[in-house]
Amino acid sequence: MTKIIRSAAAGVALFAAMGLGSAAHAQVSESADARAEVLAALQLTNDADLDFGALVLNAGSAGGSVTVDSTGFRDCFGDVICGPGGTEQASTFTVTGAANTNVLVSVQDLFTNPVSLTHTGFAGSPNAEHNIELTGLDDGSFGGFFGFSGSESFNVGGTIDLDGSEVAGTYVGSFDVTVEYQ
């Protein structure tokens, strides 16, 4: 069965009034009608940060990698040794909005937009000893929430590769997490 939609008629007058996504307060008095339209809102909070916990790197290390997956499980490979556990965790986000909608989640595509964590003392340095590559992001929402319940939390894990040459200090990098409404 098919129906033609004339969109010129649909979709106008969406926003008669602005209000944030809290309860409507429709005030009615004898002399005047007041009107309020509640807009659907979407909110996103970052509740926990990606933490690889304590690691140990051998002398003369050939490098290796460490992964914290979206469930918070950590694994170390190569010459990177996982130190005492307990502090490692995946980053956690909470998205809140209207129930029964379709909310998509995307994390940065590292293939087209690679991320390097760079030593804070050598910003912009291309040298291997000042850079650590973020090689993976693990989206625990698997792309989002088709039947969105109104509030969902999801985790994002990650993998970094060390080549063993890194000098001591603080390395900073960032990655994108986007919640998309369609």
Binding site: T2, K3, S7, L39, A41, T45, D51, S106
Partner: protein
């Protein structure tokens, strides 16, 4: 919302005791949480509108508002498109949206409106034009603390830059869509039974609405999925909805699937299909 700070790991170089690894802690920094309303904007005509951005974090934050491009896939995903790879319709879409401000600093709990309007050129062909407006916090430069300057360890900070995108849809001139639904079937998905079907769409306009099941024995339509968009770049969008065992029993047999506009927009029927589900 309280957030923990970006503390990564400490890595102890050789020469220290094997398990002398340190876990560093840094002060909490809550920055960048946000609320956006509404979650979808349709502009037709020259009248503009506003989108509200609010800082729901516990610290002042600066947000960048930008326009991005997405293309829908048949699976219903939105795939980012670089501006250098934009096609003609996408370039025209980017060119016609006026908005301000593009950068907002907000103290906690403070909302601000972003004004936007479409200014389609006189020569522009009728059609639907769309961009996705992105709201993202800009990470603030962090102070180097005493812990971070210690020389015997490596620590990492992975800062999430997180945000929300919403579609901004411009309908220019006369646009239409023809929509049909395919026969639904119940299939076994990764997480149990799923109702699988697709929405077939043609014409210049996108559609947006709610999928529901209507049948004898159900007092009210059973909502399968809300907020299903089918954008003009796809002619067919697959829909798969997880079902509980009870829902499977309720749906089986002769039933009617309806795709309707949102109730707040009148709830008009877009398309429907009658069939035997099983």
């Amino acid at each position: 919302m309280f957030l923990k700070s970006l503390r990564k790991f400490s890595l102890v170089a050789a020469g220290l005791a094997a398990f002398g690894a340190l876990g560093l802690t840094t002060p909490a920094q809550a920055q960048g949480d946000l609320l956006v309303a509404p979650t979808r904007v349709v502009l037709d005509g020259s009248r503009g509108t506003e989108v509200i951005l609010s800082n729901i974090g516990s610290e002042e934050a600066t947000y960048r508002i930008s326009l991005e491009l997405r293309r829908m896939t048949e699976a219903g995903r939105l795939v980012p498109v670089e501006k250098t790879e934009a096609n003609g319709v996408e370039e025209a879409s980017l060119g016609m949206i006026r908005y301000a401000p593009r950068r907002i600093s907000l103290p906690p709990g403070q909302p601000q409106a972003v004004r936007l309007a479409a200014r389609p050129g006189a020569e522009l062909p009728d059609g639907e034009y769309r961009v996705h407006m992105s709201f993202k916090a800009i990470p603030r430069p962090r102070e180097v603390t005493e812990e971070q300057t210690q020389t015997d360890a490596v620590s990492f900070k992975l800062i999430p830059i997180y945000g929300i995108t919403i579609p901004i849809i411009v309908r220019h001139g006369r646009v239409e869509a023809q929509v049909a639904l395919t026969q639904p079937s119940i299939v076994q998905g990764e997480n149990g039974p799923e109702l699988a079907m697709s929405i077939e769409r043609s014409g210049e306009s996108s559609t947006y609405g709610v999928l529901s099941v209507v049948k004898d024995g159900l007092d009210e339509p059973m909502i399968l999925a809300g907020g299903i968009a089918v954008y003009p770049e796809v002619g067919s969008r697959q829909v798969r909805v997880n079902l509980t065992p009870e829902q499977v029993e309720q749906i089986k047999g002769p039933a009617r699937i309806e795709y309707r506009e949102l109730p707040e927009l009148g709830g008009g029927l877009i398309a429907a299909v009658d069939g035997m589900i099983g």
